[in-house]
């Protein structure tokens, strides 16, 4: 009682407004400093997700359906966040890449299956990045061979400098350039009321048919791709992130998902406003068409397309090399010099050079390859997602960081929707008259 009386009469010290403000400022500044150190993998993977194939898909979607599928892109943002956030937890807790986690937890059969899937899908997607980069620079009369050679040299220099941190900061710079689409959208003066009215109400322009299924799948495939799961988890490990860094990793991924939706939406708005009804099959074609309307707009789109392809290429090639290194036991960190990790860098360059060579094949149907690769990637995605969900539900592995019920419901819903959509597309491809 006496103690309680003593406590109740003791006055707490009160700080003035300025000291309290300074205290909060120091807390926020410290949080931002830690965030700046930890941020990177989430933003890079999400922005790189808007790769050359992605920009092509958004441009073609806008030209074909106007603002009609904008709502779908907005929904894909949170979906991508929920998937990628799981890789942050998995990488920070297990300190292992995704490929190694699958081998160790599920054994050889599923391990080799997943690794083969990843390598094939990654290589095909890498081809589309080179398609985008060569198409973008050909608008400025730069021949494809020169683009492939220069890009390969830049990519080599980025990884050979021997530090993950430096590679990450350069990649973040390119992520910043990717936001060039945003001013581009303001140049075309879209009607905001029309964008909101037509774009944000869920509906399927033109009804259910083969074409809409294809575009829905291509848009999913470019927003959530198997390589992203492997890349972000390996990047989290290579960066040395810990369990205590998970909250920062989540914010990093969230910011990245906002950027990805913004860029996707603005590309769609540009082509929907200015090129509606025009047969546009590629972002490069859209750039050229836009050059005729507004030189700056076309230039922004071309620069953005090159940047998108470059970002995608540097991430995808690393995703495969990291996965190989994890399984084959090679040194596989960007912090290793080339002499310390010859196979890691070797696999990186082999993927790069072979993918770049495809683009130089005369007469190759590059635009069709770009769109189909997105669709193939999304078809293979459920397999990668199922393993991710199973790993995140392993209490022995994840401890207190395992998935809760809401996360499981969202993830399983994403898997089911993708499988359904893939099935609908396959059925519509086999029986085109069924959905007319």
């Amino acid at each position: 009682m006496k103690a309680r009386a003593a406590i109740s009469t003791t006055r707490r010290p009160s700080f003035g407004f300025i000291p309290r403000l300074y205290f909060h400022y120091r807390r926020v500044a410290k949080w931002l400093a830690v965030f700046a150190a930890v941020a990177g993998p989430g933003i890079i993977v999400m922005v790189a997700d808007n790769d050359a194939g992605g920009i092509t898909t958004y441009a073609a979607t806008g030209a074909r359906f106007g603002y009609g599928l904008l709502w779908f892109l907005v929904i894909l943002g949170p979906a991508a966040y929920y998937v990628q956030e799981m890789t942050v937890r998995l990488g920070a807790v297990t300190k292992r890449g995704h490929a190694e986690a699958i081998f160790e937890t599920f054994g050889l059969f599923w391990g080799w299956f997943s690794l083969t899937d990843l390598v094939l899908a990654d290589w095909l997607t890498l081809v589309t990045e080179f398609i985008g980069m060569t198409a973008a620079l050909s608008i400025f009369q730069i021949p494809p061979l020169a683009t492939v050679i220069v890009v390969s040299i830049i990519m080599a220099m980025m990884v050979l400098q021997g530090r993950y941190w430096t590679w990450e900061k350069i990649a973040l710079l390119f992520c910043g350039i990717n936001l060039i689409y945003i001013p581009g959208a303001f140049i075309v003066h879209p009607s905001v009321s029309e964008v909101l009215r037509v774009g944000l109400i869920p509906h399927f322009p033109g009804g259910f048919n083969n074409q809409i299924f294809f575009f829905l799948m291509a848009n999913i495939g470019t927003t959530i791709a198997p390589w992203m799961i492997f890349f972000q988890q390996s990047a989290v490990v290579d960066k040395g992130m810990d369990e205590k860094d998970i909250p920062f990793g989540k914010v990093d991924t969230f910011i990245g998902s906002i950027c990805t939706v913004l860029v996707a939406a603005f590309v769609l708005i540009v082509t929907a406003t200015v090129l509606r009804g025009v047969q546009i099959d590629s972002a490069a074609q859209a750039s050229q068409a836009l050059m005729g309307i507004n030189k700056y707009l076309g230039t922004f789109l071309a620069i953005g397309l090159f940047d998108a392809g470059f970002l995608g290429a540097i991430c995808i090639s690393l995703a495969s090399s990291w996965a190989f290194g994890e399984i084959f036991g090679w040194a596989h960190s960007l912090n290793n010099k080339i002499k310390e990790a010859p196979w890691f860098y070797g696999s990186y360059f082999i993927a790069l050079i072979t993918a770049g060579t495809v683009v130089l094949i005369p007469g190759a149907p590059l635009v069709l390859i770009t769109l189909f690769v997105q669709v193939i990637a999304v078809t293979l995605l459920p397999a990668a997602l199922v393993f991710l969900i199973l790993l995140l539900n392993d209490g022995e592995l994840m401890g207190k960081f395992k998935n809760n019920r809401a996360q499981n419901i969202i993830s399983v819903t994403i898997v089911v929707c993708i499988v359904l959509l893939s099935t609908l597309y396959a059925v519509s491809a086999l029986f085109p008259n069924l959905f007319k």
Partner: protein, 58 residues
């Protein structure tokens, strides 16, 4: 050449030995469901490839 491939395959054998025993025990039902899902997705990819080839040949 023989020695080269022997070295490469010995690495793969080493990996197979390392991961021979999975940590998680999957029930037969789950393993079967996963396998069916994988085969189903490969079938869908096959249909896509056929569609792609048809479009290229048009």
């Amino acid at each position: 050449m023989r020695e080269y491939f022997k070295r490469r395959f010995s690495k793969i054998r080493e990996i197979n030995r390392k991961y021979a025993t999975p940590r998680a025990k999957m029930t037969k039902g789950v393993a079967f469901a996963l396998l069916m899902l994988r085969l189903y997705l490969i079938l869908l990819v096959g249909i896509l490839i056929i569609k792609f080839i048809t479009m290229v040949n048009k």
